[in-house]
Symmetry: C2
Subunit: 436 residues, 2 copies
């Protein structure tokens, strides 16, 4: 045998404890999204290549895994399919494919893997789970509020309790640029620079706005001063002076009103004029979530009324958000060493039929039961196995016990042993394991 084969670069095997932990997290999120009336959607792992092509820009498109044609066409070296890169393009495709079969509005959640050929690095994988919720077909601010509330509940469910939704509005941002006489055509560039505030600081941003974005030093400084201020009061004042500005502020305020009405604590959601969000497909409210102990943002979303159409779907207003579950799980994982052991381990020194019957009774009670499957007939070796299995109780059924029609139950923590009649063993174990 040569060197053992490995997983492909940037991927990983998920062993027992990791699968259980992830599954619990995804189940929690699913349950919450279901309660908000979102429907699950699962699309194929791959899409026809033309559905994916041209949707992600030049840089990202290099990261798409493409699937070679098959059979006689394989030799062409051409691809006809591509692994899904996110859940948004498949959603837009689904809206087109299923049309009237879907509820209106269509509220769906998707929790599943996507694939990106990013350079592998610590904590970043080429196969990772994205968790999205979206509402397609509604202009209502209630739709935005529901997304925020569902994300907040989701974070809470994942054990992230101290978080803040930093809210802004594309409308408000463009109104602010308008106040300063900045051409909307240059808007995305200016916002892209403002987005770097946390990274490079106010001074560097002001400089970049002057050098790269063509703003005068005075305008650049005033604009940065507005959005980087400790309180939003200055921005509010400027926005209140125009109709567009008022409308933008109203969007932000309405989202905060509706979500706090529903019980979201007011310290969990604030207006953050400096939050611009990098992607330019947003059209209304936008938000990023910061949380103590988690660098960067751990959830984000907003309204993107043109996105579905621009991705090849029909023209529908939409809003949605996502939770960075992989990052949250990675950070929490380093603090956890939980492991699921056996409730009962059965050693085997003869009497297999009796043991099979006992195992069946215990499993019917919902207990996790393992039987020694090795070849050793030495009790010490079998107890070592039970120990490795993190068994809570081990059943001994040697010649003595068999003759007496009894079993010995060994508490693996204390080492205490109790002998009980075989027919009463299942009931005894159930009572012991359920605790007092």
């Amino acid at each position: 045998m040569g060197q053992a084969a490995q997983t492909p670069s940037g991927t990983r095997d998920l062993l027992a404890d990791e699968v259980r932990r992830r599954r619990a997290a995804f189940n929690t999120l699913s349950q919450i999204f279901e309660n908000f009336g979102f429907d699950p959607l699962e699309t194929p792992a791959f899409e026809n290549l033309d559905v994916i092509t041209g949707k992600y820009g030049e840089e990202a498109s290099k990261l798409i895994f493409k699937i070679l044609k098959r059979g006689v066409h394989e030799a062409s070296g051409q691809a006809d399919l591509a692994l899904r890169y996110d859940h948004t393009v498949p959603l837009a495709r689904v809206i087109g494919t299923h049309g009237a079969k879907l509820p209106t509005p269509y509220k769906r959640y998707a929790i599943g893997p996507v694939w990106r050929a990013d350079r592998p690095q610590e904590g970043r994988f080429r196969e990772f789970v994205q968790c999205d919720i979206d509402t397609v077909g509604s202009h209502s601010p209630l739709a935005d509020a529901e997304i925020v509330l569902a994300l907040a509940k989701g974070l809470d469910g994942l054990g992230v309790h101290e978080f803040t939704f930093m809210v802004n509005s594309r409308k408000a941002l463009y109104a602010l640029l308008d106040v300063y006489g900045i051409d909307p055509a240059g808007g995305p560039g200016v916002l892209g620079t403002l987005d770097k505030l946390d990274k490079i600081g106010a001074e560097a941003v002001a400089k970049e706005l002057t050098v790269d974005r063509g703003l005068t030093p005075e305008v650049a400084e005033a604009l940065v001063g507005d959005v980087a201020a400790d309180t939003p009061d200055r921005v509010r004042e400027r926005l209140d002076a125009t109709e567009e500005g008022k409308a933008g502020l109203a969007e932000v305020d309405r989202l905060i009103e509706l979500t706090t009405s529903a019980g979201l604590a007011s310290e969990h959601i604030v207006y953050a004029p400096r939050m611009v969000r990098g992607l330019d497909y947003y059209t209304g409210v936008i938000y990023e979530v910061e949380a103590a102990g988690y660098p960067g943002s751990i959830a984000a979303g907003g309204r993107y009324d043109q996105l579905v159409a621009s991705l090849g779907g029909p023209d529908r207003p939409a809003c949605g958000g996502s939770i960075g579950v992989e990052r949250i799980l990675a950070i929490q994982g380093s603090q956890l060493t939980e492991q699921r052991g056996l409730d009962v381990a059965l050693t085997v020194l003869g009497g297999e039929e009796d043991l099979m019957r006992l195992a069946a009774e215990l499993r019917d009670e919902g207990l996790r039961v393992g039987t020694y499957l090795g070849s050793s007939t030495k009790l010490a070796k079998q107890l070592k196995w039970a120990n490795e299995q993190n068994a809570r109780i081990t059943v001994l059924y040697g010649p003595d016990e068999q003759a007496a029609g009894e079993v010995t139950l060994r508490d693996m923590q204390s080492g205490d042993q109790t002998r009980v009649p075989l027919p009463r063993a299942a009931a005894h174990l159930r009572n012991t394991l359920e605790g007092p």
Copy 2:
């Protein structure tokens, strides 16, 4: 907009009810396998190409989805990865990759998609879920019995209650061929022909054994007569005449003894000499499961002590089985029209903050709650939406109710309406929905 994009050939979108139904089935199976002490394992969707290549034979290898190299290598037209074709090759790879990190024996289950470029046809998909359990590293007959019991519980959990495990042993089959002086080298071919008994009948099989497998007409007829007999008595008699035959019978009988000891009804597991199973990697007991109402076999498995090594893993004894979940779900699906609706639908005629608060209270109770997100201010239209959502109760909160501080609760089945004070609405709804 042109024609709507579709899913790739042979794949499907899973909409809400279908996802829920599948998820419930997979959860049931997971829970059962956990109780038997099996650990979940999730491997990447793709493996390095050399891990997959040469493992499935010539015909099958044409069905593998290969992934094109990326970046500057894309133009080469070559693949370096392949989507997983089953869970067995990844398991063999995992045994090699993780070695001592895994428990001994390693008992794992895998429930997840695999991809095969089969010609798409009714009920057969290119992306479908396989459900496998395997124990690697044990020679014990208890390991085989556990697999059978877990599969039986799994079938039961999926609602398939009338099934029969048809058990045989590779050892017994080869011993039977030996009785007739058939060269073991020709064994796989002869067994391959015998495997067609149910399809083409005894006469055609006897003929093929003569023409294609080189048996004399007398031997062919006697052999077919043995395995196709109504009872296994004739085969038992012949096998009892040789040591190898006795050993093969003992394997079968031990599996039946151990599983019936654990409560599997004896009509659910029988010795079936005609059951040979097509694949030649089995080395010990083998079984296929037949069930009333399900054509073909809906579960199968056996012992394959050389398989892990032959797939590139280390040399470990192994046994395992799988349940045909897709086929079971497909057949059951045609009988089901279950749908999960909303517990409570909230119409919106103003008073949004109050409604958001009420929705939050109801969701905290674990109820599934939807809010009207459309643009109509007409109650009739909103009730139509609530109806489409299969809502059990709809909340009306018009100007009248708002002035009185009350809500109207409409039972969507009966049409009955009740008016209750807003602060008592959540408690009232919970009580109503929980039933008497």
